[in-house]
Symmetry: C2
Subunit: 450 residues, 2 copies
């Protein structure tokens, strides 16, 4: 018996998971490495952050999803090194022990992280939304702000508690701001006795001259209008100069403006996972200016046809020479392509280069409102919203998750409620009151411009 | 207009929440104080700990539950003092500020905490199951043990990862051990490639001579048999002498025995909330030996007819002179009674003493198996299991929660699965391996017998 070809996949997100799933009928041994034990449906993470869904609704245990895929082993650990000559990865497992993980073909699909454009010190004051823990932390902070406001005598501080700033008006930022507005104006309407949550101020800040700047202009305009209808303050051409405990300083056309807000959420930028530079260092991978790995049309790198990079970490052109966006459909299609390529290699069948089929983009902005751009048709409003719901349910992994999300959406829709509103972490909001949080204020002092 | 009578309720568990709900039609102003923003359905907490349900399924935001109860204000904070002469509570709110909260009638319903019988140093090695955070921590630790075992070369350590010890065979311990056995032997069956989860060893340790010692003997015997059928090792007349990182030492009839186990779960004892001693110190409340507040037949204390204590914190006799058990139905009925009493006082109608109507006890031990004791009838098996499901769904707060739990139970039942199996915390299991966890081992050293 010959030794089976070993495909090692790093990352259980959209790309890696779909690669593993698509290799089911291929006679290879598959190792799927991830730091977490679940696949996360990131496009709905903002609904966890706003109390509409529970973490488990949008997370599927990798072992569960792959339990009937007998050629796949799931390994939990972090890749910390690579030796492309010996074809082994250095793997740090959960208790810190280092082991080697060999591969014949390597698929790297480790996505991206938040990116503060050199201002990492902002992170404690403006958390991003990438992981389940990010989502439950933000959820706790958002809800705690209303609680603090309810028991706060000082009206200036109440104002600060009830001000929410979302930095970045891409799909995540827009969806988050819209949902936040609904939470304040609708869901929490009857819940407080001293404050009126409807008075909450929600600001979305965007550097570009329109929201959803990667979408067609007409849809940006619609989304903008939808946000304003929900009472969201949209700031375009606005740059964040500084974020500190409880305040954000913006550079506007009319000068600098300081907004005091206990909740600032970062939805502005991502950077590629550190595996990119590992590949550049050890396997001569070429990186683009943002740190993504430049891949060939068949998603391999430089002199290593046995190393494939897919998903957000890969920099790849479409047929028209435009770079592919960092979205789930690209990663999924690349994952499937990788499986096809590997099968082709085993049977010596040539496989044509990867070609992305763009089925479109969309974003939702609260109840009944969404924008959809399918290329051949662009629409918004109620139909777009229904379409958005349908597509998201379809792409969720696991029938039970689909059912649970459907039940909760239906319930939220009927009752205007969001029942996963749990403050599950000890939250200390961090406003500029001199007599508290000295330790944290130290950190923010260091963050001041020099 | 006369000032409205102010009822301040401390604790949003079963007792406090039902008191607040039952005061809806009573012309009083109600303040409900809790440290958390949600009511927790504790009887199903073990299902969160074993990945069957999500936290939000068994937690209901207090403001949501009470949003239409316009005479109720929810206040988040911790009661740290009481002045029964001026009738004010000292309240520490979330950012540490102290305020005063006045009352005309005070209802204290703050329940109980874990109790390690003087061995609080055991807590890090044997977490208890009282809060949502406890449940998600235990869930992460249980699931991580299987993950660690999968990648562990040393068979002794694999054994230790796959050994689970539950201390205490009351309803929580029995339900937890049963579910754990199902998780290992059934749910995770196809999930691993190197280990066989079915080989997991699950031990339940009980000081008394039978499991469920507060139930009739026949039901204890049935529960015992059900546990053994699931492959749970039942240790009766067994005392915990010592718990350290990764091991528990038991005193058995045949001598001492050491079990190496990375997961030890404490389900053995609770102690009343610290508010009991606050009442004893400042309001002359009498405490029983375990620290519960001894209440009169109308649930008031000593010389303070305006202070009522209910739920697990209260020590109260039934008509036959037996103390009432610390279970949810007692707290719920006492909460309702308190509302009736307050209404009676306002209208000068005398109210007869509190009388507990015992509808029975029950526990479930895995699929299809449960024991039910309704006093007039005792039964077990499939019928008892169905009855258990029905009653728990009925008592869950909120229709949406009932629906979500029902969907997940049905799904789990059909597919033998539990999909909320997320490791959401960074878990370091803490076995006795010299080269790791030095900081933690320091703590365990201090815990050694002197």
């Amino acid at each position: 018996m010959t030794k089976m070809h070993r495909v090692t996949i790093v990352g259980g997100g959209f790309g890696g998971l779909h690669a593993a799933l698509s290799l089911k009928q291929v006679p290879v041994q598959v190792i799927l490495i991830d730091q977490r034990n679940f696949h996360l449906f990131q496009p709905l993470l903002y609904q966890v952050a706003t109390g509409g869904l529970s973490p488990a609704d949008i997370a599927s245990p990798l072992r569960l999803v792959l339990s009937r895929h007998h050629n796949v082993s799931v390994v939990l650990g972090e890749v910390v090194g690579i030796d492309p000559v010996r074809r082994v990865l250095g793997l740090k497992n959960q208790d810190g022990a280092l082991t080697e993980q060999p591969y014949d073909t390597l698929v790297v699909s480790t996505g991206s992280r938040h990116h503060y454009f050199g201002n990492d010190v902002w992170e404690p004051w403006a958390p991003g939304l990438k992981s389940i823990e990010d989502a439950t932390t933000i959820r706790s902070r958002l809800l705690a702000a209303f609680e603090y406001a309810e028991s706060e005598p000082d009206p200036n501080r109440v104002r600060s508690y009830l001000t929410f700033v979302v930095v970045g008006a891409g799909p995540t930022g827009v969806e988050l701001a819209g949902t936040l507005a609904e939470l304040a104006r609708d869901t929490l309407r009857h819940d407080f006795r001293r404050i009126d949550p409807a008075n909450a101020r929600i600001v979305i800040v965007e550097r570009a001259d329109r929201v959803l700047s990667s979408y067609p202009h007409r849809l940006s305009a619609r989304a903008h209008k939808s946000l304003e209808r929900l009472g969201v303050e949209v700031r375009l051409n606005s740059t964040v100069l500084q974020i500190q405990s409880g305040l954000v300083i913006l550079k506007e056309s009319f000068g600098e403006e300081t907004i005091r807000a206990e909740n600032i959420i970062w939805a502005a930028g991502v950077k590629p996972s550190p595996l990119g530079s590992l590949l550049a260092q050890h396997a001569d991978a070429e990186l683009d200016s943002s740190g993504r790995v430049v891949v060939k049309p068949d998603l391999t790198i430089g002199n290593h046809p046995e190393i494939l990079v897919i998903g957000d970490l890969a920099f790849c052109f479409d047929r028209n020479g435009r770079p592919l966006p960092a979205v789930a459909p690209v990663a999924i299609q690349q994952g499937k392509y990788v499986a096809k390529l590997i099968r082709g290699r085993l049977t010596n069948r040539p496989i044509s280069p990867f070609r992305y089929r763009n089925f479109g983009n969309m974003a939702t902005i609260g109840r009944h409102a969404a924008v959809v751009d399918l290329g051949w048709i662009k629409f918004s409003g109620y139909a777009a919203w229904t379409f958005w719901l349908f597509v998201h349910l379809m792409y969720l992994v696991g029938f039970e998750n689909r059912l649970l999300v459907l039940v909760q959406w239906a319930w939220n829709y009927i009752t205007h409620n969001r029942s996963a509103r749990l403050i599950t972490e000890h939250v200390r909001l961090t406003g500029p009151r001199a007599d508290r949080e000295t330790q944290r204020l130290d950190v923010s002092d260091r963050a001041r411009p020099r």
